[in-house]
Amino acid sequence: MTDMLLEVKNLKKHFPIRKGLFSRIVGHVKAVDGLDLFIKRGETLGLVGESGCGKTTAGRLILRLLDVTEGSVTFDGRDVLAMGRKELRALRREMQIIFQDPYGSLNPRMTVGGMLSEAIRIHKLASGDAVKKRVAELLEIVGLSPHHSRRYPHEFSGGQRQRIGVARALAVNPKFIIADEPVSALDVSIQAQIINLLQDLQKQFQLTYLFIAHDLSVVKHISDRVAVMYLGRIVELAESSRLYESPKHPYTRALMSAVPIADPGAKGKRIILLGDVPSPANPPSGCPFHPRCRERLPRCDKVVPQLRDQGDGHYVSCLLYTPEFQSSSGRLGKSVIIDSDDQKKG
């Protein structure tokens, strides 16, 4: 498949929990636990989920900023996890990241010009005066001015800093950028500017994005396809419009019902999820969502559902959408939903 840029299969990251005098490992936080997704060349895949569901860890794993526990990552036909030092360095040119925190992600003791030329020099993309020219060019691309190169990060506003972060990611001419909640720390008025900037840059440089966020409306605006993550796994993945109009997974439906509608007359039916997100150190058996699911089946705590294509690239990981269930007890599925609604009324 030539239009496939990134393919992630069964990706896992378990952080050990150490305790006691000898740092004995007493358990694992399963931050990412069997993640599957793929990104096509030139598209934007939105990755949404609650805080703590492993979105950020997933991004770091794909970039190999963290060591992977299990699974595979294929970028542009190459196995990322098998790469040696040299190949990894070359990969850094093609994959970049934009961080959430525009304050923490810029070195406070380095000028903007220093930061951008650092990137250029590491990969020997230019030398001498060409570096300066390239820095000026990058600053202009992201809507700053070349004379800002001598300034330090603290002299800029949040939005401007995020532009610097974008310029740094662009400095090495990457194909693929992971944007890790790039606008979450910004004012709403600035968010739109950064999103527009990212979209402009995508067209200009044929970029592919993995856009991580927890704000559903932001993701809907920028993404071609959206993946919903829950406790380290993808529960649903579909084209943006399809996912927002007809979410299938019970968790996605609950999420979508929480999106505010900008119409005072609209009567949204809000699904309130009961309980908290379970601890990733001790995830539920079977489907990780089953303890909070209103449509759970008796088997849900035993069977781990797989991400399955429901047609037209709408992937869902839920027993309600498995062929066995649909054929044998398709009607039952409906009645379960009605039952739970009735319970709520009563």
Binding site: R60, L63, L65, L88, R89, R92, R93, M95, Q96, I97, F99, Q100, D101, G104, S105, L106, N107, P108, R109, M110, E118, A119, I122, H123, E140, I141, V142, G143, S145, Y152, H154, E155, F156, S157, G159, Q160, G165, R168, A171, V172, I190, Q193, N196, L197, D200, Q204
Partner: protein
Amino acid sequence: MSSTADNSSFAAIEPTSSFRQQAWQRFRRDRLAIAGGLLILLFIALASAAPLVVKYGTQHSPFQQHMMDKITVGGKLIDVVDDDGLPVGPNRVFLFGADLTGRDVLSRVIYGGRVSLLVALLATAVSLFIGLVWGTVAAYYGGPVDATLSRLMELMMAFPILLLAIALASAMQTSSLLVVVLIIGFVNWTYIGRIVRGQVLTLRKREFVEAARALGAGDLHIMFRVILPNLMAPLIVYTTLAVAGNILFETALSFLGLGVQPPTPSWGNMIREGMSYYNVAWWITVFPGLAILFTVLAFNLLGDGLRDALDPRLK
């Protein structure tokens, strides 16, 4: 293509002062620190120009012994040793008096300052170098590397450093200036190492370090080009304070006879030589003692001022 929508906010940020300017503003208001800094500059100037100062100022060599009963200076006869055979106290020719062997104390204090300051500064540089590399490597790599390096560091810290220095000095048969520098530098690096490790431990988790790694920067580049500049403030402060400590340390070693060896004057060995005669010739010990006091005080005042200026949170 590029959007310049938040152009309006560019103007607002123009007049912000940099970190350095703000630190300088804070430092300038600290009169004690300024006084300390000026005093240090004076001592360093005197020490580095010692041969000139002695030639045109005190007009005595720090080594020449004036032991005859009377000497002629500028056409005047001056007593060097009094009627009981004791050295003379401060007078117009020997401003700080003369020592037991008839040497000018002032010239020796100036030359001694040269030695003491040089040893303290070089020793601080040695401990800074070891502590910086050790602490950075330990904290950056973490895990077993950190465990090993930290335990070794703690093992060193468990020794009383003066005893360790004495043992090292006795073990080394020779005792040149370089050996003294290395000993003092070696017994003191753990304190800098510990500070550096703590700072790097928090810095390496910052996102800008991750950003550098994502750009493909190597470990050495990240440690010394990305993280190190962020350590400057605490290091400058600690180094200044460490110089004061090392002056005292050199003095202590020389006082014990293990540091700088006579006839080369250092403040420590001058006090050692004059100690037995403090009741008849106080000037032999008091002047080098005052020199130590003011130098150490000056470095401490400067260090405190720099700490307040560079890292207001530490206060």
